[in-house]
């Protein structure tokens, strides 16, 4: 297949296959081969003529194992996979084109969702049914296997190749699942193997890893180390924790927060300057969210929440983004504030943000002090370095305001600089259009800062872990 970054499509095939087997003695030596036999049967099932892919929201059915047949005459084995789009009814009735507004960018590959089905008609034989009864004491094991395969392709890739690729992926996933099931089985206790997709740096691209359900990431360290070695991934940052799983472009985030609103902006065009941005995914936290009226006092809390959301979504922590109360309680717990602080509307600054990140997330941060706002323009190198190595959002407090810095455009030669700011003072709803149009997330020049006030910046450091 091709490198994912140039890919136009992701074909995603999902389906449930029931794993079933009968074990005479779950602790006996035979049980492993019985389990393997059941998986072998499932692998035969997915390579049989009976499997069918249905393309969601369309009348298209494809039989991938019969020399490619489809229910729609115009789709043949020679068809390019992009041809499938004309058959899909999109939910909003419109097309998946990028927004017409200026300064907005493409939203990434198109996802074609497919479902795995099995035909029960057109059988090979015609023998009327029998009832076969077995009366030995057995442990009957049943488990739904949540198959989920994804393939990144370009528009001109043949549909037939895509389908063959998906069948291979199904086979491989079943083999991976068998390994996980056998490895984590204790007698007759089986853990469901769950697939997760990860977008790795080239050339690996989109890969799928199967993890056992219920086993926390902390216990899967060795598995990740092996995979980091296999895919030549850096050993100091997580790529394969469950939270790092690839977010498919067509899936909505259930919590309703906007993710990375900055990607819809075009960076300023400064001669000779380079772009240094936050890495990964964060959620936009701002005034009035979660039914908390913190208008006028909560800006640093919201910036802190944005930072916490980053650590959660990059897989460093499993704890939820803290509420104002939890943030205040954390400060009381470390002895930084009196108990009556909890429930108050008192402001916090960078030092408090650093303390809370340490207390609740185990994250350390560097503090950068700037005696005058005008000096911030000279901090290009430090900020560029930060975004390159740590890539975390930066909380900046000073004057009477707190903001989040998500990146800089900086020229080493001319010293020109622009700051990408996420403003927590926004009181409206999660409307991307408004937020980007009105600059609640936007590029600002050095004049944005109060030239005379002093500022403290909190630069969170990534823990060196996978």
């Amino acid at each position: 297949m091709v490198y994912s970054e140039e890919c136009d499509f992701i074909f995603r095939l999902k389906g449930i296959l029931e794993f079933a087997c009968q074990l005479d003695n779950p602790n006996g030596v035979q049980s492993q081969s019985t389990i393997s036999k059941s998986f072998q049967d499932l692998r035969s099932k997915v390579t049989s003529k009976n499997i069918v892919f249905t393309v969601c929201n369309s009348p298209v059915l494809i039989w991938p194992n019969t020399g490619f047949q489809s229910s729609v005459e115009s789709l043949t084995e020679a068809s390019a996979c992009g041809d499938i789009l004309q058959w899909i009814e999109s939910d909003d009735g419109g097309s998946k084109k990028s927004s017409k507004k200026k300064d907005k960018k493409k939203s990434g590959p198109t996802v074609v969702n497919m479902k795995l089905l099995f035909e029960v008609t057109e059988p090979a034989g015609n023998t009327a049914p029998s009832l076969i009864r077995v009366s030995t004491q057995q442990h009957c094991v049943k488990m739904p296997l949540p198959l989920d395969c994804a393939l990144s392709v370009t528009t001109d890739e043949r549909l037939e190749t895509v389908c063959t690729g998906l069948v291979e992926a199904l086979n491989k996933q079943l083999a991976d699942m068998e390994e996980v099931v056998l490895q984590y089985r204790k007698g007759s206790s089986f853990l469901v193997p769950q697939p997760f997709h990860f977008q790795l740096p080239e050339p690996a691209g989109l890969i799928t890893v199967v993890y056992p359900a219920g086993v926390p990431d902390s216990q899967l360290q060795a598995v990740r180390e092996d995979l980091h070695r296999k895919f030549e991934l850096p050993c100091d940052r997580p790529y394969l924790r469950r939270a790092n799983a690839f977010h498919f472009p067509d899936a909505a985030y259930k919590d309703g927060y906007l993710r990375n609103p900055h990607i819809h902006l075009n960076p300023p065009n400064i001669e000779d300057a380079k772009l240094y941005l936050v890495q990964g995914v964060y959620s936009y936290h701002h005034y009035m969210q979660d039914h908390v009226d913190d208008n006028g006092w909560g800006c640093a809390y919201r910036s802190l929440q944005t930072i916490c959301s980053w650590f959660q979504q990059q897989g460093y922590v499993e704890t939820a983004v803290p509420t104002h109360t939890q943030i205040q309680q954390a400060l009381v717990d470390v002895g930084d504030k009196e108990p009556r602080f909890v429930g108050s509307r008192q402001w916090i600054g960078s030092i408090e943000v650093q303390a809370v990140l340490n207390q609740l997330l185990g994250v350390t941060s560097k503090i950068m002090f700037v005696s005058q706002g005008s000096e911030l323009a000279t901090k290009g190198r430090e900020l560029a370095n930060h975004f390159q190595t740590e890539g975390t959002p930066v909380m900046i407090g000073g004057g009477v305001l707190a903001h989040t810095i998500l990146g800089v455009v900086w020229s080493e030669n001319t010293g020109q600089i622009r700051f990408l700011i996420l403003d927590p003072h926004y009181t409206g709803g999660e409307d991307l259009q408004t937020i980007t149009d009105k600059g609640w997330c936007g590029w600002k020049g050095p004049e944005f800062w109060d030239q005379n006030a002093y500022y403290n910046l909190c630069l969170p450091q990534r823990p060196k872990t996978i």
């Binding site: 089905l117 035909e119 009327a128 077995v134 004491q137 009957c140 488990m143 007759s188 469901v192």
Partner: protein, 413 residues
């Protein structure tokens, strides 16, 4: 505004040909298909005489109406239901009474119709949907005047009262009804917990119910087209009343293993079983759909229900038979046994077919006898089609023969 029943003329002839002994009543079933707009009746069958009863007259002092053997009528209804392919069902009852009993007939009919409905749905593996018509027809015929009184009862509501309905005769009602067919491969592995035969029955029921839900939720193609929405089954076709050609529409069914109760589990479901049962083989299914602008999804529903019914019926019949032969204490023992296989025969006059189930030790003569008893019609044995489902023994014999040939070839080469 009551329902309209369009009835095949042949049914009318059957009903007027019924002989009732003076002073006595005749009960019987009406079968056909309901659709939201109108209903079609294609078969009428009187309740067969019960052999245990020698007398036709009610004992002194008991009204013939009260003497109606409700249990026998409901049993007959159930047997007939098993013989009807998909899309067709028992739509109601008729009752012939002498003039002096006419005014009490309605109560009799109401009692019967609710009893029949209750008995037929017992053990059924699919639920009626909101769109299904729950009105059942009761037809009263006066033995002297031959006057017909047609009413309906809503069997969903035990307190409902009779509503008037139209009874119209037409020729060849079902002659151009399309027939949906498919052969379905079944392979169900059902664990059995506990050891009594009650347990066996319950486990079988649970296992079949899970499978039935899969079939109900399955994706369906009819004649190559998706059968999901409100689109018409046969679009772009001119309706020619003169053609008596019946279209055969192949259906294809696609299932997924999605089980909502297994849902978001993080570990496997493990049961300690005393054994297991496996139902394995191919069933041949058929359904009819009326041709008054039928919707694709109703046709899909009809064939799916037939698939579920045919597997369920034969398992039920087998277990009933087992109970009689092996006794209820026996429980579970090992072995492979053939389930009764499905055979088809032409329905009296309407051109549709009915089905029956043949145990391995039975012949077409037995089937013909049952058709005579249950459907009151003579069927020549050569008209009974046994070719749609292969005999399990034939398959086994063929396999052995093949093996023998292969072995001898190997030996002599």
């Amino acid at each position: 505004m009551g329902r309209s029943y369009f009835v095949d003329e042949a049914v009318g002839e059957y009903l007027s040909g019924l002989q009732a002994a003076p002073g006595s009543c005749v009960t019987g079933l009406l079968a056909g298909q309901s659709s939201p707009q109108r209903d079609f009746v294609v078969l009428a069958v009187q309740t067969p005489h019960r052999e245990s009863e020698g007398q036709l007259k009610a004992p002194k002092g008991v009204s013939p109406l009260d003497d109606i053997d409700v249990e026998w009528v409901t049993e007959h209804a159930k047997q007939v239901s098993r013989m009807l392919p998909g899309g067709l069902c028992v739509l109601g009852l008729f009752l012939v009474t002498p003039p002096e009993l006419s005014k009490d007939a309605q109560n009799g009919l109401k009692r019967l119709i609710f009893a029949v409905e209750k008995y037929i749905i017992k053990g059924r593996l699919w639920e009626l949907s909101e769109e299904d018509v729950t009105d059942r027809v009761t037809l009263h015929i006066c033995s002297k005047t031959k006057k017909l009184l047609c009413k309906t009862f809503d069997v969903k509501d035990p307190k409902s009262s009779a509503k008037p309905a139209d009874w119209k005769y037409q020729t060849g009602i079902s002659s151009s009804w399309p027939m949906l067919t498919c052969s379905v491969e079944v392979d169900l592995q059902i664990p059995v917990t506990g050891s009594s035969s009650d347990n066996t029955d319950k486990c079988m029921k649970d296992g079949l119910r899970r499978w039935a839900k899969q079939i109900e939720a399955a994706y369906c193609l009819i004649n190559g087209r998706q059968a999901l929405d409100d689109s018409e089954l046969i679009s772009g076709q001119k309706k020619n009343p003169k053609t008596t050609n019946r279209q055969t529409l192949p259906a294809r069914i696609f299932v997924s293993d999605e089980q909502s109760e297994l849902g978001e589990r993080s570990s496997a479901l493990v049961q300690v079983c005393s054994g297991s049962m496996r139902v394995r083989g191919v069933v041949h299914c058929r359904a009819y759909i009326h041709n008054n602008k039928p919707k694709a999804r109703h046709a899909a529903q009809a064939i799916k229900r037939d698939i579920i019914n045919t597997v369920c019926s034969r398992v039920e019949m087998f277990l009933e038979d087992l109970c009689i032969n092996e006794g209820s204490q026996k429980g579970l023992c090992s072995g492979q046994q053939a389930l009764p296989r499905r055979v088809f025969a032409p329905m009296p006059i309407s051109g549709l077919s009915v089905c029956d189930y043949m145990f391995p030790d039975e012949s077409t003569a037995d089937v013909a006898e049952r058709l005579k008893e249950m459907l009151d019609c003579e069927t020549p044995e050569e008209d009974i089609d046994t070719s749609l489902e292969n005999n399990q023994c034939v398959a086994l014999a063929a396999a052995i023969a093949l093996l023998a040939t292969a072995t001898s070839l190997l030996y002599f080469s």
